[in-house]
Symmetry: C2
Subunit: 247 residues, 2 copies
């Protein structure tokens, strides 16, 4: 149907994963305006298709075709694509056809480093002020990650990992940083799966997160910050290894 400019792994067809992707786009795009909106619905659907690899980097996003598919006029389609452009999922050049954004290696490096810096901020706050209930939630999310790892389910692991970090940002109670991190997550969501499907990556990630959890239990903010940073550096290294090998 659409031609591929740069293949970044095969499409995910698991409907549960697709729903998770849609929800992820939704909470960024719809933000606090939680009323159902035509534009937000379109953005979530198309955004999830990009994240799940159904639409590959470089694919055309023809507004006429999309308006037919969603049985609306082009106005809401254009607005939805603008939302996705702001999140870095879509590229809308003036007077030209919108396309699925093609992230380059520098972008990816920058995103991981920015994420690391902001998560350090989060980790310090969590370590300093986490309640027993908060710890329980983190443990629960971590248990999901372990279960997915044992089941060898990369897709489930990715989303469990998202949940784990979500718990962090929620506990730190910082909307601004949460928004930025969510936005950065969106851009790399597609790639995380690739990074984590590297042999040994899930196991290593589990170890790292176990240590982070212990640092939280000990209320050791400095260690937690260092660990969360190294988590990100490791993830980036695995991803870079994959991408350079693929190229």
């Amino acid at each position: 149907m659409v031609k591929t400019a740069r293949d970044t792994g095969s499409a995910v067809t698991d409907p549960r994963s697709f729903e998770r992707a849609k929800a992820l786009v939704h909470r960024i795009v719809a933000d606090r305006h939680d009323r159902p909106s035509l534009v937000a619905g379109i953005a979530c659907e198309v955004g999830a298709e990009i994240i799940e690899g159904i639409r590959q980097a470089g694919d055309d996003l023809n507004s006429v075709e999309l308006s037919r598919r969603f049985a609306t006029s082009r106005t809401p389609i254009r607005e939805a694509l603008m939302l996705l452009e702001k999140e870095g999922l879509v590229d809308v050049p003036p007077r030209k056809r919108p396309r699925v954004a093609v992230p380059d290696l520098q972008d990816i490096r920058e995103i991981y480093r920015a994420r690391a810096a902001l998560f350090e901020l989060i980790a310090v706050d969590v370590a300093k002020g986490v309640s027993e209930e908060g710890l329980a939630r983190l443990r629960h999310a971590f248990a999901e990650m372990q279960a997915s790892y044992r089941a060898g389910d990369v897709s489930a692991f990715v989303w469990a990992n998202v949940d784990f970090y979500d718990q962090n940002t929620l506990l730190a109670n910082n909307r601004t940083v949460k928004r930025i991190l969510d936005s950065l997550l969106l851009r790399t969501a597609r790639l995380r799966r690739l990074s984590l499907s590297q042999p040994g990556r899930m196991e290593r990630s589990c170890d790292d997160h176990a240590r982070l959890l212990r640092a939280y239990e000990d209320r050791d903010a400095t260690l937690a910050a260092a660990l969360i940073r190294s988590n990100h550096i490791n993830a980036l290294a695995a991803l870079e290894a994959y991408l350079t090998r693929a190229a």
Copy 2:
């Protein structure tokens, strides 16, 4: 013309400052698509009016009225307002009139902390790799700050300060972090003036930046990171003091 929900200081009428504000909005909103665009033009104009305080927090942004003023239809107006909403300058509730966003104290705190975390990242990179030419540019920007301080021109100082930090992000060569920082800057641009007009703030800021510059000259990344963090903490403290006194 428009009624004020919450006054956050008087409007700036200096046309040079207004042009700077417009340019600031432009580089975020138009990003790399540098072709002149109707939507971007409207967004810059309205955005600058918000930053400069010509439109106060809570003011209505009626799309019909704006379309009359810019002699266009409502479609590009709506798109421009959506862009500004993504940057946190405007609030567009569904089915209700768009308004100039009203930042609350928690938002402001979060923004300053996020900025501090990301600027640390930038400072480390700059300190590690800055060339003699880069240092010269930083010194030049700093000299502008000092000149504005001596002239007692808060508005000029604010923009000189923006230039100084711009040099930092440019030298670190990190587009992603630059984009995020620009966006965060936009949200607080209006408030920075208030913070810096506090007695002694400009002088203190000059001292802080002089020390930062020395850290760069010594290629001391750790010190530079610490200094840039403390700059932000100081600025936030001054702003909080002003806002609580005003309330």
